[in-house]
């Protein structure tokens, strides 16, 4: 729901850039990073984040996303390339002069200070007067609904409360940019979902630019204006969540975001925006070519489980059909999850909404499944 209403705003959001000329608020320009002089952890990163945008860096561990965040915060220096903030290069500015708010993975609340002292700290080092400080601290604590906890120590708070305080502390000195390094990783599922909503809401209502790092794809999809998917030191795709899910540009993104069925084969024909793929067992099917360039390329065809239909009456015009055998039926409450053997692949999953008119499949049953060619994307092998 939220994703649909906000998508027009996202359209102007961040984008991958090829050149240095860019007017983004945060710009990575051909940034590389190596720790040991042998391997690049970040390889040629170009990224622009617009003012007020909520950008998430998503990727498996070791993909370079945290390194990027640390370079932006100033705790790591880029081996090559420029990082610009508001148009000015910040490579040589020490962290304490960058004025970037940061929320750490384990909150990093100072244990020897009370909550109010923690929040007051950034204001004290900025030499604000006492009454000014008290006022801002109070406002920030009220903002995260922690107004009554100013006199407590961090150890006396629950994980969720510490999380709110960490957020308030990163925002109390009114930075224009806030970085968050997997801030919800330590919370349980319910609290995490609640905090996801609160953080997004707060970031948008204050209009601050946010760069958020996570390895949790649900978090990335629900919170962000734009998601940058990292792997192997590169951004694999930068797009709004809906595009990322529905139109993955390569097989890594397709596999990493959401559940995904793959069939392997060779491209035999390309005509405009459709192509024909001959699967390894000889079956041929229509697909949308994404990053296959010529006939004879090996390709991985990707189909989302919920776009596969087996009820013949519901199959749409032009749908491609294949034979399948039911191997396993799992009842999951709101949906049914069925594992099939399709074209030699025994891990083919389909998801069906639990509705009164849906047949429950039985293992051993022979069925015919189908999908639209535009839902079936031919990606790199």
């Amino acid at each position: 729901m939220g994703a649909a209403t906000e998508s027009p705003k996202r359209a102007q959001g961040g984008h991958l850039t090829d050149t240095a000329a860019n007017d983004g608020f945060v710009v990575f320009d051909r940034v590389q990073k190596s720790y040991d002089g042998v391997n690049l952890v970040v390889k040629d990163l170009n990224l622009s984040v617009g003012r007020g945008e909520f950008l998430t860096m998503l990727g498996p561990s070791g993909s370079g996303k945290t390194t990027c965040l640390m370079m932006l915060a100033g705790f790591e220096t880029a081996t090559h390339g420029d990082i610009r903030l508001g148009g000015k290069p910040i490579n040589n500015i020490p962290p304490h002069k960058r004025g970037i708010g940061m929320v750490f993975q384990n909150y990093a609340l100072f244990p020897h200070m009370t909550i109010a002292e923690n929040l007051s700290f950034p204001l004290e080092v900025r030499k604000l007067g006492k009454s000014d400080r008290e006022q801002k601290v109070k406002r920030a604590l009220d903002m995260v609904e922690m107004g009554d906890f100013g006199g407590r120590r961090p150890a006396q708070l629950s994980g969720g409360q510490q999380q709110r305080v960490a957020l308030a502390r990163a925002l109390v000195f009114e930075p224009e940019l806030v970085l968050m390094d997997e801030p919800l990783g330590a919370l349980d599922k319910q609290l995490r979902e609640k905090m996801q909503f609160e953080i997004t809401h707060l970031a948008h209502s204050l209009g601050i630019t946010t760069v958020y790092v996570t390895h949790d794809q649900t978090e990335a999809l629900t919170m962000s204006d734009n998601v940058a998917v990292f792997d192997d030191g590169r951004i694999q795709q930068l797009a709004p969540p809906d595009q990322l899910y529905e139109k993955p540009e390569n097989s890594f993104v397709a596999q990493f975001i959401g559940e995904n069925n793959t069939l392997e084969g060779v491209v035999t024909e390309i005509t405009g925006d459709t192509c024909v793929v001959r699967l390894d067992d000889g079956e041929e099917l229509d697909a949308t070519p994404i990053n296959v360039s010529k006939v004879g390329d090996r390709t991985t065809v990707s189909i989302r489980p919920e776009r596969v239909e087996y009820n013949k009456e519901r199959l749409q015009e032009g749908a491609h059909t294949l034979k399948a055998e039911v191997l396993e039926f799992i009842y999951m409450g709101d949906i049914f999850r069925t594992r099939l053997r399709v074209a030699g692949n025994e891990e083919f999953i389909i998801k069906t909404r639990n509705a009164p008119d849906v047949d429950r499949l039985v293992p051993g049953q022979q069925i015919e499944i189908g999908w639209l060619p535009q839902d079936c994307r031919a990606l790199d092998a």
């Binding site: 915060a73 100033g74 705790f75 020490p94 962290p95 304490h96 002069k97 960058r98 004025g99 970037i100 708010g101 940061m102 750490f104 993975q105 384990n106 990093a108 100072f110 244990p111 020897h112 700290f121 950034p122 080092v125 900025r126 502390r169 990163a170 000195f173 970085l179």
Partner: protein
């Protein structure tokens, strides 16, 4: 249904009160735990607590006078020492009888030595009188006042008799007064003349030097502990061995090494002369004084400071410093406001350890301290092994123990002992 009734206590399944049932169940566990620690408990009781208690008792014990001179002690009770006159004939007669018994039992020199601690010179009076005392005929010879005065004119000194009277009770505060440079005078306790004052100055020096040693340990250990805590595990383990290596070396060896390094013809002086910083005829005196003691003891006690500091610093994640910097703090502010306060428990633990160890140190000051750099423990050792005045040694030890306990109490009040982390 619940086990409780509205009126009575909670009952166990067999009807006994739950509390008693629980206590019975736990009694066996407690007994077993006690049995397990019994060997250690008995060992500590026999080899540590009882001897220490006995030593402490010696600091006030004064049986020897009353046991050796039983008649004199009774007779002298009513004598007024402040009258300026010698005691009457019965006291002298009692003393003569006591001396005769003591001389035949050969205990007269012991009581002389005891009283000599309080009034130097008395020992010879007892020794000389003892030689003749065996032939005393208590019934027929006399009067004893003249007899004793003829024997040694010390018996005509009012102060000698005052000393005997003062130290006739079986419990005395004399050792403690002596340990704080005081004595029992005509009007009760009074300070000793300045030339005889030793122990208070020595105690002050011991405290002051222990503080200096503790402070220099803090200054030296802090960066080392920081490096150990922040290096990768592999490197820091290697460095940790370097910290522990002197720890495993004999104390005597390390102290002797400092003797070689610091003496006037030693390595450091040779080096300074060779560089030209110091002229050959003006070699630095850096041993057999306070400076030598401080250097050697700082080195020896350093691991006791590094280890608790390291164990505390290890638990402080580097994200705190990063968080402080991201909030706008300079490197110094981040260190001073965020990192340092979290290391205080380590500093506290290290300081208590080093200070308490330093205050009782004995071998190192004895070897490199000369006369100016010795500690009060060296005096205790002297009285235990050379002068054999165990009562005074015990009093000095008790005072040292009390000082440490008072400092520990003060530390607990100021910093809080539960803030201390030893590992």
């Amino acid at each position: 249904m619940s086990d409780t009734t509205d009126t009575g206590p909670v009952l166990a399944a067999d009807g006994t009160p739950l509390k008693r049932s629980l206590a019975r169940a736990l009694r066996r566990q407690k007994m077993r735990a006690l049995m397990l620690i019994a060997p250690l408990l008995i060992f500590i009781l026999v080899s540590f607590i009882l001897p220490v208690g006995d030593m402490l008792y010696r600091s006030v014990k004064n049986d020897i006078v009353a046991d050796t001179l039983p008649r004199t002690v009774v007779a002298i009770q009513d004598w007024d020492a402040n009258s300026g006159e010698l005691p009457d004939e019965p006291v002298f007669a009692a003393m003569a009888a006591d001396l005769k018994d003591a001389a035949s039992a050969k205990t007269h020199t012991k009581v002389g030595t005891r009283l000599n601690y309080e009034n130097p010179g008395i020992a010879s009076a007892f020794r000389k009188a003892g030689r003749k005392a065996k032939k005393f005929d208590i019934e027929n010879d006399g009067p004893w006042k003249e007899q004793l005065l003829d024997l040694n004119k010390a018996w005509g000194d009012v102060e000698v008799w005052r000393t005997i009277q003062t130290y006739s009770p079986r419990v005395t505060q004399g050792y403690f007064l002596n340990a704080v440079d005081m004595k029992v005078g005509p009007d009760g306790a009074e300070a000793r003349p300045e030339s005889e004052q030793i122990y208070m100055n020595l105690l002050k020096r011991t405290l002051w030097m222990s503080m200096l040693i503790t402070f220099s340990c803090i200054v030296l250990a802090y960066p080392v502990a920081w490096i150990l805590a922040n290096l990768p595990m592999r490197v820091s383990n290697l460095l940790m061995i370097l910290v522990l290596l002197p720890f495993w070396t004999s104390l005597l060896v390390r102290t002797s090494a400092w003797k070689i390094l610091l003496q006037q013809q030693g390595v450091i002086n040779d080096l300074l002369v060779w560089i030209g910083v110091v002229a050959d005829e003006n070699r630095l005196v850096i041993i057999n004084n306070q400076f030598g003691t401080i250097i050697a003891m700082t080195h020896i006690l350093l691991p006791f400071m590094i280890l608790p500091m390291y164990s505390v610093m290890q638990t402080i994640p580097p994200t705190y410093l990063r968080a402080a910097k991201s909030l706008g703090a300079t490197d110094w502010t981040a260190f001073w406001r965020v990192y340092f306060p979290q290391t205080v428990p380590g500093i506290g633990a290290g300081s208590i350890l080093v200070f308490i160890l330093a205050i009782g140190y004995y071998i190192t000051p004895a070897l490199v301290g000369g006369t100016k750099g010795t500690f009060i423990s060296n005096q205790i050792a002297y009285h235990i092994s050379t002068s054999l005045n165990w009562g005074l040694a015990a009093a000095l030890g008790a005072i040292l123990l009390a000082v440490v306990l008072v400092l520990y109490w003060a530390y607990d009040k100021i910093v809080g002992i539960d803030n201390v982390k030893l590992g």
